[in-house]
Amino acid sequence: MKQFLTKVIIISLPILFGAIFMEFLLRNTPNDYLFKKQYLDKNSSEIETLILGSSHSFYGFNPEYFSSNTFNASHISQSLNYDFEILKKYQDQFKNLKTIILPISYFTLFGKLEAGSESWRVKNYIIYYGLNSSKSLIDYSEVLSNRINVNIKRIASYYVLGNSTISCTDLGWGTSYNSKNARDLAETGKTASKRHTREDINSDKYQLIFQENIFILESIIQWSNKNNVKILLFTPPAFKTYRQNLNQEQLKITINTSSDICSKYDNCIYDNLLSDTNFVATDFYDADHLSEIGAKKLSVLINERINKWK
């Protein structure tokens, strides 16, 4: 037995030490989550307009074009439950908060970060935001959340090549989707719409997610109402190749539900910009994300909408 345990320990130790060292390096690699968390820790009391949501917000809103003090706290694939968690975490510090901007995309009400292919991002909220929202031990570790090759690439990129690992501006706007590198709108329209369409929205699984999301959305609006904060819900603009391939039932439920919920509260307005004619092909990075050109347009448009609302 002694011999067996000794061997197991000898074989395991290098792996264990390697993993701990890698975890240390990864946690000390700057990233968008830590960056935004630090910003919120320091500046949340000054924020007047808070942008939440997924990649549609992350790449779609440049706070520089807002007349109020604005911060973009969205992240790629951030679902409503994490929007609400962030809001709750800083609720006592949001002393000047006047407006929240929250996208209700085609997939928002039927999606949840934990349930999708991007679930590996859950660890970012636990490790960097300090939210304890997962039962899975994997979500508490950088090393275990991703494949080792992905982790090695991240470490090499930062520590060896000296690349920046932050992909947003100081105010949280995602800068990677540049018009110069725009993707094929026809192709991405098909693939993105397929990826965002749930196979059966009436299944128990998606009905449960839908009910949870409705509850969270109402909770966010009610929180805003209680704190005299206005909330602007909007369905982001998308290119026609994306729109044409959407499931009409899923889309209709999303739009009608958002509109119905919003109409119940005085502090809420809902704008459906999905087919907004202001946005043309050159505004898009891919069929459902805006480039820096489109982001400027959307930011200006929403800023005007907020100012008029006042």
Binding site: Q3, S136, L137, I138, I148
Partner: protein, 482 residues
């Protein structure tokens, strides 16, 4: 709890240390620890369904005790059928209720009769098909007086719920596993090391081979309407290796884990894709289920004795029931029937036991003839897997129709082709290692055993690195759904 999870990586050492250092002096305590650990292992998934396991355990233990003292044949039969009905009743309700209901409604509507029926929102308890069959083997063997009924309730509970094989087999026979709970286990160094090696290989099969193949198999099967014939062939091949890596990987981890605790489980896979005919394939694939059906269904039905019609009937029954065991879907039934069709010519011409030895035993390469038969058998198996994987019969037929079209000769095309190439290379290496180790219990059981320690350790590290390199988030095992 999944074998490929961090939870299990913490759970296993704790149980191992308690087993060998705290409870080792007392056999009853050691068995009790296994029961508690097994219930924790199962309850991690859903503790509510533990009640089913406990109920099955109590029923079969009681039936076994009563059979011991009962001499009247009629009463013995009633006891046996009580056990069968309780166990198959649970299985039937949780697994097949909605299937039968839907098919009855469809059948009646075909004849113009509209009947109402409410399908239920039933969650299938993980592993129910496995532990039901395992515990049934006990009652049947006791009824047939092949096994002395146990007086030890703890040992029996441990036999029913033994965590390494509780949720996906191997489906153990009471005659093999139960007596092992009566005897004191002593720690065997070489057995434990071998167990660790088998666990490592099982994890490799699951995480590196199965999970990577799954990504492309799912993508191709889920979007088959948009794919050309050659891509669909690739999809079927990916699924072929996915299901083998997934299920045989699970079995390897189960057997290896059992060895750490001093138990020997039956072998469940014996390099099935190197089979030279379908009969050989079925002697090598999911052995514990095939032999279960052989012993408790095929032989009682008359087996291969009797006339041709009897042989045909029995063969179809065993294969179709075996298919249906996998789940309430016509695709599994067709998969079973297809295998019966493959198997029958061999049985009727008495060629079903031609290939009992390992292919090319002691040789580096197979003969051209052997290779041809291996490729033919593999091709038939891949074809049958299409039905197994398809969502429904219509999906399978359209999948096969596209393969049989001219698009078969076009270049495969799907998202992530370059990553798929890496997976294909991994599968090729895997097949080579399996071929090299085909005479052992599992591929690396003797692989590098005579190498110097540093080289051998380097090989283990390479496997571990591959597991972390190619592994993603923990994925369910396919057979959990059966």
């Amino acid at each position: 709890m999944l074998f490929n999870s961090i939870d299990f990586a913490i759970f296993l050492p704790i149980v191992f240390l308690l087993y060998w250092f705290v409870t080792n002096k007392n056999l009853k305590l050691q068995n009790l620890l296994i029961v508690v650990a097994s219930y924790v292992f199962y309850g991690w998934w859903d503790w509510r369904f533990l009640s089913l396991i406990v109920f099955s355990t109590v029923v079969d233990y009681t039936v076994g005790r009563k059979l011991r003292n009962e001499e009247k044949q009629l009463k013995r039969k009633i006891l046996l059928w009580t056990s069968i009905l309780v166990n198959l009743g649970f299985l039937g309700f949780f697994k097949y209720y909605n299937f039968f209901l839907d098919n009855f409604i469809t059948a009646f509507s075909f004849f113009g009769q509209e009947i109402q029926g409410n399908s239920l929102n039933i969650i299938l308890p993980v592993g129910i098909s496995f532990y039901t069959f395992q515990t049934l083997s006990y009652t049947i063997d006791v009824y047939k007086r092949k096994l002395e009924p146990t007086k030890d309730f703890i040992a029996f509970s441990a036999f029913v719920s033994f965590f390494p094989q509780l949720v996906a087999g191997p489906i153990e026979r009471a005659t093999n596993l139960l007596p092992q709970f009566y005897n004191k286990r002593t720690f065997d160094y070489s057995k434990a090391v071998d167990g660790m090696r088998q666990i490592l290989w099982g994890l490799f099969k699951k995480i590196v081979i199965a999970d990577n193949c799954a990504e492309f198999a799912n993508q191709i099967f889920n979007n088959s309407a948009d794919m050309n014939g050659s891509t669909l062939v690739l999809g079927a091949l990916f699924f072929t290796f996915q299901i083998y890596g997934d299920f045989s990987g699970y079995s390897d981890i189960a057997i290896g884990t059992s060895r750490l605790f001093g138990f020997d489980l039956m072998r469940n896979f014996n390099f099935p894709y190197f089979s030279r005919d379908i009969a050989e394939f079925w002697r090598r694939w999911h052995i514990s289920l095939s032999t279960w059906f052989r012993d408790y269904l095929y032989i009682p039905l008359g087996g291969s004795r009797g006339g041709t019609l009897m042989k045909v009937r029995n063969t179809f029954i065993i294969f179709i029931v075996s298919g249906f065991w996998h789940g309430p879907n016509w695709t599994f039934i067709v998969w079973g029937a297809l295998n019966a069709i493959y198997f029958l010519p061999l049985l009727l011409t008495n060629n079903n036991r031609n290939n009992l030895e390992t292919v090319a035993q002691g040789k580096l390469l197979p003969s051209i003839k052997e290779l041809s038969f291996m490729i033919l058998t593999f091709g038939l198996t891949v074809f049958a897997w299409i039905f197994f994987r398809a969502e429904n019969i219509g999906h399978a037929i359209s999948y096969i129709s596209e393969i049989l079209s001219l698009s078969l000769f076009s270049i495969p095309k799907f998202a992530g082709m370059s990553r798929a190439l890496t997976t294909i290379i991994l599968v090729a290496i895997f097949v080579l290692v399996e071929w090299k180790g085909r005479e052992g219990q599992y591929a690396i059981s003797h692989f590098g055993i005579k190498w110097k320690r540093p080289i051998r350790y380097a090989m283990y590290y390479a496997i571990i690195i591959a597991i972390f390199w190619f592994g993603g988030k923990e994925q369910q095992f396919i057979y959990f759904q059966f």
